[in-house]
Symmetry: C2
Subunit: 128 residues, 2 copies
C-alpha cells in the first residue's frame, strides 16, 4: 500500500464519521480495535463515537496535517465545535472552542486496529 | 530524502536533546523555528528546552512511535519522569509520572522548522 492510498483510506474513514454512518464503520475499523490501550472492539469504538456526537452536536472531523507511512498514519485533527456540557472534565456548557487532537493509527489492511490519541485539553482550558 | 533518512535525522535530534547538547541544537532546528504557532526562533526554542530540563531533571526523550513522510514526521514520545514543581499547571511536586506527547514536525532539509505538539495533560492529572 502506498502512502497516498493509506491517506485516502483514512480520509474515507473521516467522511464516514462526519456522515455518522455507523453501519459502515466496520469497513474502516477492525473488530478488535484498541484505543489508547483499551480493547474497545468495534462495538465499543462505535459507542464512543456515538457518545461524542451526542455530547458535541456540531462535531466535525477535519485533518489539518496527515503523515502517512503504511501501515501507520498520524493526523492532527482540528476541531471547532460547541460541547454541550462537561468536556474532558471541563465545564464548556455550549461555548464554542477550538482545539487539536494529535492521533496515531495502525492499520491492518484498510482497517484501523490501534489508535493512540492525545487531545489538547490545555487549549480548551485556556478558552474558558 | 527517504522516510528512513528523515527518521534517522529525527533520532539524532532526540539524542542531541538527551545529551543537552545545546551548542549542536542549531544542527537540528532551524533559526526560524515555530512551536504551536509561536515564532520562537532557535534561541527561544533552546530556552524552552533548557527550562524543561531544569523543571524535570530526569527528562528523557524516547519515541514509542515514529511515522515519517518527508518533509513531515510524527512521533509519539513516551515520558517517564519526575517534574519538580508545577507541570502543565498541575502540582506534580517530584512525583514520578508517565505520559505521552503526540507531536508533528515539518523539516526544511535536515532542520525542524515547525512543531505542533499536544501533551497528554489528562493522563498526568489521573496520576495525581
Amino acid at each position: 500500500m502506498t502512502q497516498e492510498q493509506l491517506a485516502d483510506i483514512y480520509r474515507a474513514y473521516l467522511a464516514c464519521l462526519n456522515r455518522q454512518d455507523w453501519k459502515a464503520l466496520g469497513d474502516h475499523v477492525d473488530d478488535a480495535v484498541e484505543h489508547n490501550g483499551r480493547p474497545l472492539g468495534l462495538a465499543g469504538y462505535r459507542d464512543m463515537l456515538v457518545q461524542d456526537f451526542a455530547a458535541i452536536p456540531d462535531l466535525r472531523f477535519a485533518a489539518a496535517i496527515l503523515v502517512s507511512q503504511p501501515p501507520r498514519l498520524a493526523a492532527r485533527l482540528a476541531f471547532d465545535c460547541s460541547p454541550k456540557g462537561t468536556f474532558l472534565g471541563l465545564a464548556v456548557n455550549g461555548r464554542r472552542v477550538t482545539f487539536a487532537e494529535n492521533v496515531f493509527y495502525e492499520f491492518a489492511g484498510a482497517k484501523i486496529v490501534s489508535v493512540w490519541s492525545v487531545i489538547d485539553k490545555a487549549a480548551v482550558e485556556a478558552q474558558l
